[in-house]
Amino acid sequence: MSSSVDFSKGLPSHPEKATLEGKNKFLGFWVFLGGETIMFATFFGTFLGLREGTAGGPTAEELFSLPLVFIMTMLLLTSSLTSVLAMFSMKKNNHKSMLVLMIVTVLLGAAFLGFEIYEFVEYVHHGLGYTTSAFASSFYTLVGLHGAHVLFGLCWITTLIIRYSRSGITLTNAPKFYVASLYWHFIDVIWVFIFTVVYLLGIGGA
């Protein structure tokens, strides 16, 4: 499908879409993200529909702490920036800088995940178990699903980094990195709505 590559010209300016396989991967992943949108919307709807249902258990206002959420938000937003910059390095055929930026992305993501686990443990100590109330179940499900996405993204990007640590940027791995970075941005987009709708609205008392 991909006819021979002209190496003398150098890496194409859009290496992720230089082959048909790359184009397919790119489009397929966008389609998947379209589906993820409505799946997360369902979980958001569930949470928003049930968030008053605390059944006498702890409420959002009693539990959430803004500074923690703020730090987590900053970590994830910054990781989004580093993965954007990594893609610029990739387009310039700068393999090393791409890897470094991707590693920073992973570290920031891991820190985010650490804070999230700490947060959940805290809440359980404050009496918000998974089965406490409909609010608790839907909160843990929504935020936990996002956390699971972060975890999957971390494993994925780490695999890519290790696998391609010495290979240079090729027409095979460029789409893989590109798609992983799209995934990472999408996780970030979801988090923007989580911190707004779950935490800020929860504390805002609305």
């Binding site: 991909s2 006819s3 021979s4 590559v5 190496f7 010209k9 150098g10 890496l11 194409p12 300016s13 879409k17 082959t19 489009l27 966008w30 389609v31 993200l33 589906g35 993820e36 409505i38 919307a41 369902t42 709807g45 928003l48 529909g49 803004l66 959420v69 703020f70 938000t73 900053m74 937003l77 989004s80 920036l81 954007v84 910059l85 610029f88 387009k91 310039k92 055929n93 290979s167 240079g168 940027i169 090729t170 027409l171 095979t172 799209l182 941005h185 999408f186 970030d188 987009v189 923007v192 709505f193 911190f195 707004t196 709708v197 800020l200 609205l201 504390i203 805002g204 008392g205 609305a206």
Partner: protein, 114 residues
């Protein structure tokens, strides 16, 4: 042929002009990142300090979230670039079809009857 796909390139094919363009785009990305951080701080401040009335704060922070959504999608994820017609179609469809579902799950649970 297939081996070519796993070989690295000696250099980039980009011309000076293209590199200039890409550097400019990079600056735009960093600027939009700074703007997103600003929006986030604004949202947190709006809620934390309770300076703004609750009835106004909610639409305000929701609006900020929507702006961030567009920045992420159109700048960080390059939806504004060309050759993104189909991705745009799918994301827009996702958002459009999510809307009635969200409204139903929040409002139409039989608690208040509309």
């Amino acid at each position: 042929m297939a081996d070519d796909l796993s070989k690295p390139f000696p250099k980039s094919s980009m011309s000076e002009e293209e590199i200039m363009k890409i550097n400019k785009e990079r600056r735009i990305q960093v600027t939009s990142f700074a703007f997103m951080i600003f929006l986030t701080i604004l949202a947190f401040v709006a809620v934390a300090t309770e300076m703004i009335e609750v009835g106004f704060a909610i639409p305000f922070i929701l609006l900020l979230a929507v702006i961030q959504f567009f920045l992420q999608m159109y700048y960080f994820m390059h939806l504004k670039d060309k050759d993104h017609g189909w991705p745009n179609a799918f994301i827009i469809s996702g958002v459009v079809l999510s809307t009635p579902a969200l409204i139903a799950l929040i409002l139409l649970l039989g608690v208040t009857k509309y």
